[in-house]
């Protein structure tokens, strides 16, 4: 595989968290309990090797606590691997949680600017997209009121609209396919289809196996910190249901 075809390259990567039973966070606790080693290292991901090609739509599946979300966080560089390497090529946006950094007192429009700037967009780039974002969210009538007056569904719609319109080459999505009402969910799904067809690389963590089958062409089954199965989405999902269902 030529190097320029690869969007995400995970090489022999291990991630271990220190698990504290009683975590010392103040100086007093550190001094008084200095000899109490109440922590152990827990391997969440163990020597993972993955290559995700540009334009692929990949699903990460697995039971709770298997390390899917951790892998996604490592890809976005929110956390760093303990061992090994992870490299990404191209502009990357992650939708781990919607509306991160929304300020309740600011208006919808102001929050679009702030949220989009968190994704690394410049003023000009946001100016160009703002109409699309507002139109996609269908919140034209509320866009200049503070977001604390929004319902939780409206809040999510605004957040999703920003993230989906950032125009990244790599999109990482964690369990957020269920946003808003049925109408909006369908719209999000259609948008994801469109992004997929426009040659973006998408990695989705989800338990909605039916949607995954429609959207993705490849699935990676993570079990206990290791890649259990990697291949065609239908085969992997079928096997996964057989074992875990």
């Amino acid at each position: 595989m030529a190097k320029q075809d690869i969007a995400i390259d995970v090489e022999n990567m291990t991630k271990a968290f220190k698990v504290f039973y009683d975590k010392p966070s103040t100086l007093k606790e550190r001094l008084v309990f200095w000899n109490k080693k109440k922590s152990e290292s827990r391997k969440v991901l163990d020597s993972i090797n993955l290559k995700i090609k540009k334009g692929e739509t990949v699903a990460l599946i697995g039971t709770n606590g298997s390390g899917k979300s951790t892998l996604l966080k490592l890809m976005t560089k929110i956390i760093y691997p303990t061992k090994g390497k992870i490299t990404t090529h191209g502009k990357l946006t992650s939708l781990l949680e919607l509306g991160a950094g929304f300020h309740p007192d600011f208006t919808g429009r102001e929050n679009i600017y702030f949220n989009a700037s968190i994704f690394g967009l410049t003023r000009k780039e946001i100016d160009r997209r703002i109409d699309d974002i507002i139109a996609f969210s269908e919140l034209e009538d509320f866009i200049d009121s503070p977001v604390r007056t929004y319902s939780s569904g409206m809040y999510m719609r605004l957040a999703f609209s920003v993230a989906i319109n950032v125009d990244a080459e790599i999109l990482l999505i964690d369990e957020i396919l269920a946003v808003g009402d049925q109408h909006f969910q369908d719209k999000c799904f259609a948008k994801l289809q469109e992004l997929k067809d426009s040659d973006k690389t998408i990695v989705i963590v989800s338990h909605a196996l039916e949607s995954i089958k429609q959207l993705c062409n490849r699935a990676i089954w993570i079990y206990d910190g290791k890649v259990n199965m990697d291949g065609n989405v239908d085969e992997v999902v079928e096997q996964y249901i057989k074992v875990c269902g």
């Binding site: 968290f17 966070s25 103040t26 100086l27 007093k28 550190r30 966080k73 976005t76 560089k77 929110i78 956390i79 760093y80 990357l92 992650s94 781990l96 949680e97 991160a100 950094g101 300020h103 007192d105 600011f106 600017y113 702030f114 989009a116 700037s117 968190i118 994704f119 690394g120 967009l121 410049t122 003023r123 946001i126």
Partner: protein
Amino acid sequence: MISMFKNLYQYRELLKSNVKKEIRGKYKGSFLGILWSFVNPLLQVLVYAIVFPIILKSPEPNYVVFLIIGILPWTWFTTSLSQGTFTILGNAGIIKKVYFPREILPISVVTSGLINFLISCLIIFAFLIFSGIGFSGYLIYLPLVILAQYIITLGIVFITSAINVYIRDAEYIINFIVNMLFYATPILYSPDVFAGTKFSAIIKFNPLATIINSYRDILYHQTLPDLKMLALVLITGLVILLIGIQVFRKLERRFAEEV
């Protein structure tokens, strides 16, 4: 290091809107709003202006102006330090959820402090006019002093903000140090108070003392500031900043796990 600057440039819009949020968001919901950032230090000046002439028998002429020139830069330093120390923990929500260059958080705290200070310079200028002191040509050195203070504050905040994630009571220790530093810096008094005593070294080795003295020289005494000392402070500031960036970059890798 170069990649860090490239990254920061890419995220310049976030830096801008974060500075705005820092300035506007802080007092949102309060009646006087952003005015508080200026009313607060002025009230402090009022207290000292009433109390100190009673304690010190012969304070400086125009003691209020003397005080304001000391207290407004000091306010910039302390608010940046206390907000900056808390900024990583305070933004735990976005740090856990989104990637962005973490350096933006301390930078925007110190920069919003700078903008506040630049606006409050208008208050200083007003006092200079109404007290009859006026301005001198040495004003051209003012940006240099402001730059020195910005660099040194940013360097310290890089270190304290990162450490506070791992040792939560750093905040309280820093508050104590700042309290001591307030009296070890010639803000309420003139530096010649210590001349010839063993405390004069405190003034000499305290970079903030040099900075406050330089503000006073330029604005109050209307003389040339001690350029040699100022250059030394500038170099010290750059060294602290470089160390600060290194410390921050080392510690930031586990921010999302620790906050």
